[in-house]
Amino acid sequence: MKRIVLTLLLGVVLGWGVTDAELAVDINLAGKQRMLTQRMTKDVLMVVAGIEPQKAKEDLKRSMELFDRTIKGLMEGDSGLGLVPVQDGKVQEQFKKVYNLWKPFKERIEKVLSGKYSKEDLQYIRDHNMELLKEMNKGVQLLVGVSKKSKSHKAQAINLAGKERMLSQRIAKDILLLHLDPSSKEAKEDLQKSVALFEKILNGLRNGDKELGLAKTEAPWIVEELEKAQKMWEEFKRDMEKAKSKEELAKLMETSDKLLAQMNKITKMYEAIYNRRKKISSINSIVNSFVQEKENQKHIINLAGKQRMLTQKMTKEALLAALGQDRKGNMEALKRDMELYDKTLRGFEKGDRELDLPGTENPAVLKKIGEVQEVWKPFKGHVKQFLEKGDIKDLSYMVANNEELLKRSNDLVQTFKKVYPTNNYLEEARKEIVDIAGRQRMLTQKMTKEKLLILLGVKPEEHKKKLQQTVSLFDQSLHDLIHGNKERLIVKPTNKELIEQFKKVEALWKRLKPLYEKDSLSDVEKALIMKGNLVLLKEMDKAVSLCETVMEY
C-alpha cells in the first residue's frame, strides 16, 4: 500500500498550474522592473543634465517600452516574454496598483522623450520613482512567496543579486540628482544608503552574511564573476568621488551600466543553479514514481508465478495428510495455502492491501481471472470438504484437477506479462532465465506430489513416468542455470551471490534426487523428502529473486 499512496501523492505534487520555470521567468522580469524604475529616472536626469542626451533618450524609450510590456504581461500573460499570469488575488491586485502608478509616470516620460516637458513633470518623476520601485518590489516579494523559496539561501542570493541591478541604477540616479541639485539632502542620504547597501550585498555574496541570509558563494564560476564585479565597483567608487565634468559623469554612467550588466549576469547564474536543482528534483520524482509502478507490476507477476507452485503444494499436502504423515501439520498448511491462493486470486481482481495488490480493470486480465475461478471454485470446495472430513473422494478430485488449475494459473501469469511489458531489453534477455528458474519452484512441489501418488499406489505407472519427466526437467534446468546453455540462450551466471545460491540448491538437490528416483523408501528417507522439498523450494525461491535483481547476471 505504501507504494500506491506514494504514486498518488506524486500525482498531486506534479499537478501544478504554473510551472517552476514559468514562475522563475515572472520573478526575474518582475525583479528587473525595479531596476528599470531607477534606470528610467537616471536617463531622464541625463537628458536634463545634457549628459549624452541622445543615447539616454534611446535607452529611456527602450526601458519605458519594456516596463510597459512587462507589467501588462505579468497581468495578462505574454508568450513572447514567457510570462504567465499567476492566478493569485493578492499578486494581481499588487500588479494593478503598480500599473495605476505607472500610467501617469509613463505620460511624463513620454513628454521628456518628446522634448516638451515642464519642471512639474521632472518633479513628478523625482517624487514618484521611489514609490513605483517600492510597489514593484512588493509585487516581487509576493511572487517569491508563491514559489515558497524565500527561505532558501540560493533564492535569497537570486533576490539580492537582482537587487544590486536596481541599486546600480539608483546610485547613478542619485549622482545625477546631486549634480543637478547639489543641495538636495534627500539625494545625498539616499546615495549613501544605496552605496552602503550595494557594498553589503556584494560582500555578502562573496563571503556570506547572516544578517542578509546569504551563504558564501561556492560555485567557482560565480565567484569569478563576483570578483570582477568587485573590481568594477571599486573603480566606480573611485571615479564617483572625483567626477565633476560632463565627460567624467558620462564615464561614470557607463560604468554603472557595466555594473548592471555584470550583476545581471551573476543573477542569471544563481538562477540557473536554482532552476536546475528544481528541475532535477522534479525529474527525480517522476522517475521514482515510474520505478515504483514497475516494481508493483513485477510484484504482481511474481505472486501470480507463486500461485502455480501453490496448486502443486496443496495437492502434495493433502496427500501427505492422507498418508498420515504429520497429518495435523499438513492439514494446517493446506488450509493456509488454500486461503493464500484464494486471497491472492481475489487480490488480483479487487485489490488487497496486505498483499500490496492494487486490483485491475483490465478486461484481458479479468477474463483470465474468471477462467481460473472456474476451476478454482470447485477445487476450493473440495479442499474445504477434505479439511473437514478427510474424505478420499475429495482428495481424488484434487489429484484429478490440480494440473488443470496449474495450467490456468500459468495462463494468468502469461497474461500479466503481456499486459505489463517491461520495455527493458536487459530484463527481456533475462526473462527466459527467470522463467525457467521460477518454474523450478513449482517442480519441487510437483515431483513431491507425484512421488506421494506413487507411494499411495495411485496409477503408479502413469505417475512414475510423470515423475521421471519432472525430475529430469528439474535436473536439466538446474544444470543449464548453473553452467549455461548456448542453445537455450541461457548465460552462465557471473554474479558471485547468485552462483553461491545455485550451488546451495545443487547440493540440496544432489541429496534429494536419488530419493525421488528410488522405488521403496524407508521412513527416514520419506521424512527427508518431506522436509527437503520445502527447503529446496525456499532456496530455489531465493535464487529466482536474485536472478531478477542482480545488476549483472
Binding site: 549455461g484 548456448k486 542453445e487 548465460v491 552462465k492 557471473t494
Partner: protein, 219 residues
C-alpha cells in the same frame, strides 16, 4: 620474413572451438551479424573474435587509469573535422570490406617497440615519427606503398591511394593524431583517413584478438 610468433593468449580459446563452423554458437559476438572475421597478419590467417569467457577481465597495463598528463592527455573526439572518427564496429567492418578486398590498410601509428609487443591483427606499422622528420622522400616512399602514384611531372596523384584506418594506444595517446596531422599536411586525402580513437585499449576492453610478435615482459 621474420618468423611470426603466434603467441596470442587470447587465441587459445579458438583452438578449443568446434570444428564445424556452421554449428558454432558464439555467445559473445561483435555485432548481431558478425560473430568473428578472418584477416591476414603478415601472411598468417587469423580469426578475429572476442574472448568467449564471459568472466574474463582485462588486467594488464591497458587497465591503467592515470598515465601522467602531460603527455598522456585525453584527446578530443576528432583529430580534424575532415577526418572521420570510427569505433570498433567500423574497424571490424573496415577489415572485412576494405582491408580484405585490397582497398585499405590498418595502420598502427605507434613506435615499433609498442607494435612488436602487441597489435591489432592485420595492422602494419607506420610510426608517427617517420613523417614528422619532414623528409618528403620518406613520405613519397610510404605513400607509394599506400597506392599513391607519382606523375611524370613528379606530382603526387592520390586518386588510387588506399583508405587508412589509423590507431594507437587509445584516447590518451597522441601517436595516431600526430600521424594523421602529418598525412593531411602532405596532402593525403582526408576522406581516405579514418581515426580509430579507442585504439588498442578499446580493442582489448572488448576482448578482441591481438597478435604478439615479441614476448617480453611488459613494462
Amino acid at each position: 620474413m621474420k618468423k611470426v610468433l603466434l603467441a596470442w593468449g587470447i587465441v587459445v580459446a579458438l583452438l578449443a572451438a568446434p570444428k564445424s563452423e556452421e554449428k558454432e554458437i558464439v555467445l559473445v559476438k561483435i555485432t548481431k551479424d558478425i560473430p568473428y572475421i578472418y584477416v591476414k597478419h603478415k601472411g598468417v590467417p587469423i580469426k578475429v573474435m572476442r574472448i568467449q569467457d564471459t568472466e574474463h577481465l582485462l588486467l594488464d597495463d591497458y587497465s591503467k587509469t592515470s598515465r601522467p598528463c602531460p603527455p598522456f592527455c585525453i584527446h578530443p573526439i576528432s583529430v580534424d573535422e575532415r577526418v572521420k572518427t570510427i569505433a570498433t564496429v567500423e574497424m571490424i567492418k573496415f577489415m572485412r570490406d576494405k582491408l580484405n578486398t585490397g582497398k585499405g590498410f590498418v595502420i598502427d601509428a605507434r613506435l615499433p617497440r609498442w607494435y612488436e609487443l602487441e597489435t591489432i591483427p592485420s595492422a602494419i606499422n607506420v610510426p608517427f615519427t617517420l613523417l614528422e622528420k619532414g623528409d618528403k622522400k620518406v613520405a613519397e616512399k610510404i605513400f607509394k606503398l599506400f597506392g599513391m602514384r607519382v606523375g611524370k611531372d613528379g606530382k603526387w596523384d592520390f586518386s588510387q591511394a588506399k583508405e587508412l584506418a589509423i590507431f594507437c594506444n587509445g584516447v590518451w595517446c597522441d601517436q595516431s593524431p600526430r600521424l594523421i596531422r602529418q598525412l593531411l599536411k602532405y596532402g593525403y586525402p582526408a576522406d581516405k583517413i579514418l581515426y580509430y580513437r579507442n585504439g588498442m585499449q578499446g580493442w582489448k576492453l572488448l576482448g578482441l584478438t591481438t597478435v604478439v610478435e615479441k614476448e617480453e615482459i611488459k613494462k
